[in-house]
């Protein structure tokens, strides 16, 4: 089934609004929503799911047996992230820099390094009526989000349409989120920042070979440069959401728009059809 990522270069453009409303507008027993913005997940605030499971996620970090270690420094040499320093007869392990790649343990000639799991966050899953929901919560102060994002994505069940709410930006967490999806929907706004970050996000998605479509939020504010940009790049604008006080009020109250406005339910269903059409069109090419 289709795996759809909702992303944006700029934060606050409306990724979660689109993800939540799209998920609720479709047939619930055929959809799953995963919130991969593990640094500040917020889709649950709108969906209010009942969580049925919670699991801790960790990354493997090194533990050095000083009785076996001969302080040769090989572990520090092979670590690409400066997570180990060998100082005379001590080995300093900087867990917060460790990416969990396992190189130190693999290359240690004395087999003095074993790995243990250091918790970085939790994944939770549950239901919102018939809609499946899952998200991750990164521990405060933690910088290493991709392993947790991978764990959220692994919850995906292939028999449902998967809608993934991505973190903002274009760095590692976003790449981890969108890389193996079938389509990347980019949400933007018609402002200079919106345009600049749409350009960055489009380049990222293109590099990953993902078909892309654009949603312009607050489309009647700002200027026409985003539309011109999409036109010039051949990027399809799949939906425009005007600046509407009622939509903003629903959002501020934590209420999904489609539950209160049947007209928007139809519009989000149409958006989904356009996404599927576009994806099939790109596949044919």
């Amino acid at each position: 089934m289709l795996k759809l990522a909702i992303a944006s270069g700029k934060g606050g453009t409306g990724k979660t609004t689109v993800a939540v409303n799209l998920a609720l507008a479709l047939d619930q027993d055929n959809v799953e929503l995963l919130d991969c913005d593990v640094e500040e997940p917020n889709a649950h605030l709108f969906l209010k799911p009942e969580f049925q499971s919670c699991r801790e996620v960790g990354i493997p970090v090194p533990s050095v047996d000083l009785d076996l270690c001969n302080f040769c420094g090989r572990c520090s040499e092979v670590c690409a992230f400066n997570a180990l320093a060998v100082l005379n007869d001590q080995v300093m392990v900087l867990n917060e820099l460790c990416h969990g790649c396992g190189s130190c343990a693999y290359f240690c000639p004395e087999k003095a390094i074993t790995e243990y799991k250091r918790p970085i966050g939790v994944i939770e899953s549950g239901m919102v009526g018939k809609l499946k929901f899952g998200h991750g919560r990164l521990n405060p102060g933690e910088a290493m989000s991709p392993p947790l994002i991978d764990a959220v994505k692994k919850m995906s069940s292939s028999e449902r349409i998967t809608i993934i709410d991505a973190p903002p930006g274009t760095s590692c967490p976003v790449v981890t989120t969108v890389k193996d999806c079938d389509f990347c929907l980019l949400v933007t706004e018609p402002t200079p920042f919106g345009l600049n970050d749409l350009d960055l996000a489009y380049h990222m998605a293109s590099k990953l070979g993902l078909p892309v479509g654009v949603v312009i939020n607050r489309s009647d504010l700002g200027n026409d440069r985003v539309e011109e940009y999409c036109h010039n790049k051949g990027l399809p604008i799949l939906q425009k959401i005007p600046f509407d006080r009622e939509l903003a009020e629903l959002y501020a109250g934590g209420e999904p728009v489609v539950l209160h406005r049947p007209d928007w339910r139809s519009r989000f269903r149409e958006l989904f059809e356009r996404i599927v059409d576009r994806q099939e069109e790109v596949l044919r090419q």
Binding site: G73, A85, V86, N88
Partner: protein, 125 residues
């Protein structure tokens, strides 16, 4: 005795750098003879993280006995202590000036961090 001075360039005439982990060069000198053993370009200066402990490791591998710097952060202080490298703070001017201060006993021997993590980044003006 091998002393490492945090510097912005090579040799005794170079300006000192207040940062430990991210100083561009370490000038290794003999405080008795004023002889420069070598000026090491600090590859850790641009590291994403862990510059302090890596720099401590670098100096430990070169057999440095003491480092002369402006400030030292918590991880660097821990690593230097583990490596048995003494830490002196209070450098200013050139490497030569700081060497003089060291010889006159005007630098402070510290055993703990003098600044918080990443504070050195603010000193590079």
């Amino acid at each position: 005795m091998k002393l490492a001075v945090c510097a912005r360039g090579e040799g005794l005439g170079a300006q000192t750098d207040q940062r430990f982990g991210r100083c561009p060069y370490f000038v290794l000198v003999d405080p008795v003879s004023d002889e420069v053993f070598e000026s090491i370009r600090n590859e850790n200066a641009a590291a994403a993280g862990g510059a302090g402990p890596q720099s401590a490791q670098l100096l430990a591998n070169r057999g440095v006995d003491a480092v002369v710097t402006g400030n030292v952060g918590p991880k660097a202080a821990y690593a230097l202590k583990a490596a048995g490298v003494e830490i002196y703070t209070g450098i200013e001017g050139t490497v030569s000036n700081s060497l003089q201060k060291y010889k006159e006993g005007k630098l402070s021997l510290v055993s703990d961090a003098t600044v918080q993590a990443h504070s050195g980044m603010k000193n590079d003006k």
